[in-house]
Amino acid sequence: MTHTKIREDTTSANAPILETRNLVKRFGSFMANDHLNLTIRTGEIHAILGENGAGKSTLMNMLAGLLEPDEGEISYRGKPVRFRSPRHAMEAGIGMVHQHFMLIPALTVAENVMIGLKNGRGPWFRHAKACADIRRLSESFGLDVDPSAKVGELSVGQQQRVEIVKTLYRGADFIILDEPTAVLTPPETEELFRVLRALREQGKTIVFISHKLNEVESLCDRVSVLRSGKLVASAPMKSTDAAELARLMVGRDIVPPAPRPVPAKSEPVLEVRELSLRRNNAALLQRVCLAVGEGEIVGIAGVDGNGQRELCEAIMGLSADSAMEGEIRIRGSVVPRPKPKTMTELGVGYIPEDRQQDGLVLPMSIGENLILKQFRSKRFNRLFTLKRSRIREAAEAAVREFKIKTPTADHPAGKLSGGNQQKVILARELMQRPKVLIAMQPTRGMDVGAAEYVHRRLLEERERGCGILLVSTELEEVFALSDRIAVIYKGRIAETVDRAEANVDTIGLRMAGL
């Protein structure tokens, strides 16, 4: 077995394990990595910080053998290396846990770990032996994983542990984690940190990509900041702080949203009355009541999977279930049968939770995605043909206005980074000048700068008089933006409180069902 093999350790605790020299990667004319000189030391947890499109993933993909550098050199354990495939990187001892997991849900944990490996002699795959090996390995690192479980039935946190086990089983001692906490709940994040610290204790080197400053601050030993493909700083965590890092990442100071007046009580633009939803005999929503006024942001806090998605989809008419009861009112009048088209025509904008699955048509261009809700309008349509030049103009305007980082306005949405994809969705929804906006996790997986931008745009919409229903698992975000706050737990919303009266601790307890 590879993981028990002890490598000759000639490196002292703080010697560099990996260095890049003038590393360059271009995509067309876009410089994704611009002459990077990065040093990672043995046995440290090294954070790579940067905004979306700063080049973090490109850099990591080169280290892990998924991309080849155009120029420059990577040296690993003192020797120059050139990884032509992930296999070569893996053989050298570099493993990567990708942001979108590289797991096969239909297979068991043991099968996922063992793909491409031999266990024992001969052509046969020994499931029981693999399970025993994996159990032994995962226990030695304090990772709780059931090797015989089907991956598709595991929680996201457990799946991530499987990914870590996969790299360890292949003998990795340099592990890259690409935005590992983006998909985790706070307790799962704590658990991950415990595991990462245990790995560091055992001499593993960890590269931790993130843009959550507080996480980086509490976990990492050293931190490097990328901005626009360049390395702008690399320092021990002790010698810096979150504020400085934020400034380095964004290139300017982050201004927290200014306090703003409480909106005058007005007729609700969106009202949900006694909304219940059942699926397979499970009550997903139970008599939910909500009202969002004109120029008001109502934040819904809650741990992922407590009915947030179902609530938003039910309002948008995306819920195919006939098992829906209750009433949805837009600006005072009942919507008898909510359908996405009706809701759009009534002026309801929608930012879905999963931007790649539900928000965009990835192979289509920015412009095409932008007009998905308006392509029938005279602005973009003449009889049966689309007005291509108008669409391009709109796309170029959106790229300028929303600062979407893209080589051209015709670029497919699928090739943009996550944050820029979200900006395309935001541009599309705001182009409609909605009366009501349903925003689910509008900044999930986004860096400080881009999140701040999205927050500012949402507040501008509020000023304009749009009523916003904000769903977020980030309590900070809910508190920063909302005028009133509700907590959703197991499909129920108890009450909505004014932000001034809300208290972070009590909201936190309600999120846990207490």
Binding site: S85, P86, M90, I104, A106, L107, M114, P123
Partner: protein, 310 residues
């Protein structure tokens, strides 16, 4: 109806199921690696002709089987090159293979075997009677008095199961069919696995064709596969992409076909009986295809990780 009638019905059901099963196993391996083989029909047709040609030149059915398997392997390699290496659309290539199969076998069938009314009769697979077991009433003759290829087809089912679920290679096949990128990052050569499955699928398609022309009809006739390639495809779906499921589905479809041959009810027009296997296939697909999940990467060409941009 008496025991003898039932017994002979079962025997012919099994015999007619054999080509479906062989073809189904071929489709199964390709599907599990993420390749949709719409072209099974054409591959079987070429296998059927190659079997007859091989048997008539070599003078025995085994020579025919070898020729059919070789022809199938060539087609599998061609199919693999087009859909794996060039990344062409699998449905279009599959359709092209079907048209190619029909055209090639018509031309070469006429030029090699003649156009006359007298068809070339060739050596067929020998019937092997297993002593004692074949004397069991009702099922004895059906199960233990079959031609060699039928036994082979049945024995391939556990072999395929072992290969897919108990061997390292089978794990690689299943992984490639679900998520080639993830499998590639784990050091499996995705294209190599898919090529192997195409070759295996081609060989089994050839064998299936020869099971038809050397095991059942003992001659080649134009378009003799008559939709069985597609029925095999649906047997795999109906069988939920497992070897044993594919076997049961093949037996069901074979049974429907045998019913049409064996039973003639006066008050049912025979055209309806002819429709039976096809109607059953459609019903099975309508009922089952929504309930099972095909391998997630089906039909999607894979470009290796290092060649992608971004």
């Amino acid at each position: 109806m008496d025991v003898a009638t039932w017994s002979s019905y079962l025997a012919s059901a099994l015999r007619l199921a054999a080509p479906l099963l062989l073809a189904g196993l071929g489709v199964l391996f390709m599907s599990r690696s993420g390749i949709l083989n719409i072209g099974m029909e054409g591959m079987m047709l070429i296998g059927a002709l190659a079997g007859v040609v091989g048997a008539s030149y070599s003078g025995n059915a085994w020579g025919g089987l070898a020729t059919a398997c070789l022809a199938g392997a060539c087609l599998g390699a061609l199919f693999g090159f087009l859909v794996i290496t060039t990344g062409a659309d699998q449905v279009i290539i599959g359709t092209a293979v079907n048209l190619l199969g029909l055209g090639l076998t018509t031309v070469f069938g006429r030029s090699l075997l003649g156009m006359g009314t007298e068809t070339v009769k060739v050596d067929s697979f020998p019937i092997i009677r297993i002593p004692l077991l074949a004397d069991i009433p009702l099922i004895g003759p059906a199960l233990f008095e079959q031609n060699a290829l039928t036994y082979m087809a049945l024995l391939l089912v556990p072999a395929a199961g072992m290969l897919l679920y108990k061997a390292n290679w089978g794990l690689a096949v299943r992984a490639v069919g679900e998520n080639p990128l993830a499998t590639d990052t784990l050091g499996v050569k995705v294209h190599r696995v898919r090529y192997a499955c195409c070759l295996l699928g081609g060989v089994l398609a050839g064998a299936a064709g020869s099971a038809l022309s050397l095991g059942i009809l003992n001659q080649f006739t134009e378009n003799m596969v008559a939709g069985r390639g597609f029925i095999a495809l649906s047997a795999v779906i109906f069988g939920r992409w497992t070897p044993s499921g594919t076997m049961f589905a093949s037996l069901l479809f074979g049974g429907a076909e045998a019913m049409q041959l064996r039973f003639h009810w006066v008050h049912v027009p025979y055209q309806f009986m002819l429709m039976l296997p096809y109607v059953l296939t459609m019903a099975a697909l309508a009922w089952f295809s929504g309930r099972t999940k095909q391998p997630a990467a089906t039909g999607i060409p894979y470009k290796s990780a290092a060649n992608r941009n971004g």
